[in-house]
Symmetry: C2
Subunit: 338 residues, 2 copies
DNA sequence: ATTGGCACTCAGAGGGTTTGAGTGCCAGAA
DNA sequence: TTCTGGCACTCAAACCCTCTGAGTGCCAAT
C-alpha cells in the first residue's frame, strides 16, 4: 500500500507539473503546499514514489515528472473532476444555438470541444447501432437516372444517384418503390440485406438487372452507415504546444490516420466518470506515446452511438478536460435527442 | 534589363537551394553548373542579383537564398514545367478509380494531390455557378415531417427534413410538390428565389404557414450551394518540414482558418500555365509569409467551378508541383464530367 | 569583361568552466 | 520508528572563449 502522504505528494507533483511544465523538486513542493513536514521528508516520499515508478527523474539532478503510471493513479484515485464554470456552460449553450443537420451539429461540437479544452478535439460519426429504416424513396431525376433515398429513424438521410443506362419506366419505378417501402419500413439496418433475400424474384425477368442495381446501391448506403468517420478540430493547438513533444510530426501523422484513430477510440472503454482515458503508452499506437486520449460516448436518438473526445499531451489538465468532454458529450446527446 | 547570364545564375541558385535547403555560394555554383566562367565572375553576377533584391544573404559570410521576388521571376520566366512521369500519371488513374459521389471524389483528389506533391493539399467545394434545378422532391417521412430534396443538373443532391409541427395532409403535399416542380425545373439556382415570388398566393390561406416553411428550407438549400468549404489533406507534411519554418504553429492556424483561406484562394487569378501562385509575402495573410500557395481551377459539369491546390514552403519544387496541380485539376474536371 | 589573389567577416562547432537546482544519505532529534 | 538539518555530490544548462572555414568584396592584372 502507498501511504497517505505519499499520495498527496504525487497529487501535488502532478498538479505543479501540469501548471509549470517544469520538473518539480522537493523544495518548491513544500513551499507551494503545506505538508507540515520538511523538504527532506518529502524527498523520502519521492524516493518511494520513484521506486513504485509513479514518478521519474529526467536526470539525476533534476526534479521529478509523473510517469504514465503516475498520471493513471492520479486520475483514478486522486483527481476531483472540476465542474464547469458558468462561463463555460454558457459557451456550450451559445455555441450549439441554431444548429441544423447532423453535419452541422457535429462540426460545431468538435470546434466547441477544442475551444473549451484547448486541445485537439474529435468526433466520431454515429454508427449503425440499432437504427432502422424509416422510409425509402425512389425518384427519377432524368431519362435514365434514379435517385435513391434512405431515411433512418435516427433522422439520418442519405441519397445516391443510380445510373440505369436505359430509359426509366415510371410504372416500374412506382412498383419497385412500393415494394421496397413495404419490405423495409421499420426494419433494422442490420437485417436489411437478409430481408431483401429473394426480393428480385417478384419482378419480371427483364427487370432483374435494374432491380439488382438498385439493391446494390441500397446495400452500399446501409454499409455507409457502418463506415466510420472522424472529424477533427484544433490541430494547430498541438503545434502551439511544441515544447510538449519531442516532435509533433509523428503525432500529426497518427491522428491523420483515421483508421488507426477509429480503431483506438472504438476499443476504449468508458469506465470511470463516464469517460475513457488512455495515457501515454497505454495508446499502443506509435507516435501517440506522449499523448493522452480522452473520450466519452454520446447517443443519437437512443439508436446510434459513437464517441467524442480530445487528444493532448500526457501532461494535460485532466480535471478540466474530463468535465468538458463529459459535458459536451451529454449536451450533444441532448441536442440530437430532438 | 537583367543580363542573360545573371538570370542563369538565379535559376541555378533557386534549383540548388530547393534541392539542398542550404544557402548556395559562388564556389559550389560553378562546381555544379558549367557556366564557363570563374567563381569571381559569378560573384559579380550575384552582387547584381542582390542589388535587384532577387537574392539575399542570411548573413555576411553565408551563401545566398532567393527572395520572394527571386522565386517570382524564376517561376514567371525561367521555370520549365516538368511533365509528370508515367508513374505519376498511373498513380492518378488508379487513385481515382471507382469513386462514387462528390464527397468521395473530392476526398480522393485531395489525398492524391497531397501524396503527389508531398505538400498540404486543398480542394474547394464547387460553388453555385451556373447550376440549375434538375428536380425537387417532397416526401413525408413521418406524421409531421417532410423531406425536401433538391437535385441540381451538376449532379449534386441535397436534402433536409422539415418539421411542420402539425399532421401532414398527403393531398396538400402532392399539390405543393407538383407546383414546385412546375415552377423550378430547369431554373438556375441564382434566380430560384425570385421565381418563387408570389408562389404562396396559389394556396389557401390555411396552408401559407406550411408553404412558407418549405420555401424557407428551399432557400437555405440553394444558399448552401453558395456556402463554400475547403477540405485539406496532408497537414502532417508541414510538420515534417519543420526546418522550413521558424515555427509551424502560425501556419497551421492560418490554414485551419477556412474563411481566410477561402478568401485567399478565391481572389487568386490563375494566369500563367493555367495555375495561380502566391509566393511568400504575396499572401497578405499573416502566418503564411513563408509559404507559397499554388492553385488551379476545376469545373463540375461545366456549371460549377472551384479551385484545388497546395500549400508549401516558399522553397518548394515549383516545376513538379505546378504540373501536378494542373494535371490533377484537369483530371478532376474530367472525372466530374460524367 | 574576366580573373586570381587576398584580406575580411561571421555563424557555428568545439571545449572548458561555472552555476545552481536538486538529490541521496546520514546522524541525531522527537 | 519517523522526521529533520546538514552536507557532499551530480549534472544540465548557461556562459564564454577560441577556432574554423565557407563565403564575401574588392582590386590590380589580364
Amino acid at each position: 500500500m502507498i501511504p497517505e502522504r505519499s499520495l498527496e505528494v504525487l497529487r501535488a507533483i502532478v498538479q505543479d507539473y501540469i501548471a509549470s511544465k517544469e520538473p518539480v523538486g522537493s523544495k518548491s513542493l513544500v513551499e507551494r503546499h503545506s505538508f507540515g513536514v520538511s523538504a527532506a521528508t518529502i524527498r523520502n516520499d519521492m524516493a518511494f514514489l520513484e521506486d513504485e515508478e509513479l514518478i521519474h527523474a529526467p536526470h539525476t539532478s533534476a526534479g521529478r515528472v509523473p510517469t504514465d503510471k503516475g498520471y493513471r493513479l492520479f486520475v483514478d484515485r486522486l483527481n476531483e473532476v472540476k465542474p464547469l464554470t458558468v462561463a463555460e456552460k454558457h459557451a456550450i449553450e451559445s455555441f450549439m444555438q441554431g444548429s441544423a443537420d447532423l453535419d452541422d451539429v457535429l462540426g460545431r461540437t468538435v470546434r466547441l470541444l477544442s475551444q473549451l479544452t484547448n486541445q485537439v478535439a474529435m468526433v466520431q460519426y454515429p454508427t449503425l447501432g440499432k437504427a432502422s429504416v424509416q422510409t425509402v424513396e425512389l425518384i427519377p431525376v432524368s431519362e435514365t437516372r434514379l435517385l435513391l433515398i434512405l431515411v433512418t429513424d435516427s433522422g439520418r438521410v442519405q441519397q445516391h444517384v443510380i445510373e440505369l443506362g436505359e430509359a426509366v419506366d415510371p410504372l416500374f419505378v412506382a412498383e419497385l418503390r412500393a415494394k421496397l417501402i413495404g419490405s423495409l419500413t421499420g426494419v433494422a439496418l442490420s437485417v436489411v440485406a437478409e430481408r431483401l433475400n429473394g426480393f428480385v424474384d417478384g419482378f419480371v425477368a427483364a427487370r432483374t438487372g435494374q432491380v439488382n442495381l438498385v439493391l446494390e446501391t441500397l446495400y452500399d448506403q446501409v454499409d455507409a452507415n457502418r463506415q466510420e468517420k472522424i472529424i477533427l478540430s484544433g490541430t494547430a493547438k498541438l503545434a502551439r504546444r511544441e515544447e510538449d513533444f519531442p516532435s509533433i510530426s509523428p503525432v500529426l501523422e497518427a491522428i491523420e490516420e483515421q483508421v488507426v484513430l477509429l480503431k483506438l477510440i472504438t476499443e476504449m472503454q468508458t469506465d470511470n466518470h463516464g469517460v475513457g482515458l488512455r495515457i501515454g503508452r497505454e495508446n499502443t499506437v506509435e507516435g501517440l506515446s506522449n499523448t493522452s486520449i480522452l473520450v466519452s460516448g454520446y447517443e443519437n436518438g437512443g439508436s446510434e452511438i459513437a464517441k467524442i473526445g480530445v487528444i493532448g499531451p500526457t501532461r494535460m489538465d485532466y480535471s478540466s478536460n474530463i468535465s468538458a468532454v463529459r459535458a459536451v458529450a451529454r449536451y450533444l446527446t441532448k441536442t440530437l435527442g430532438n
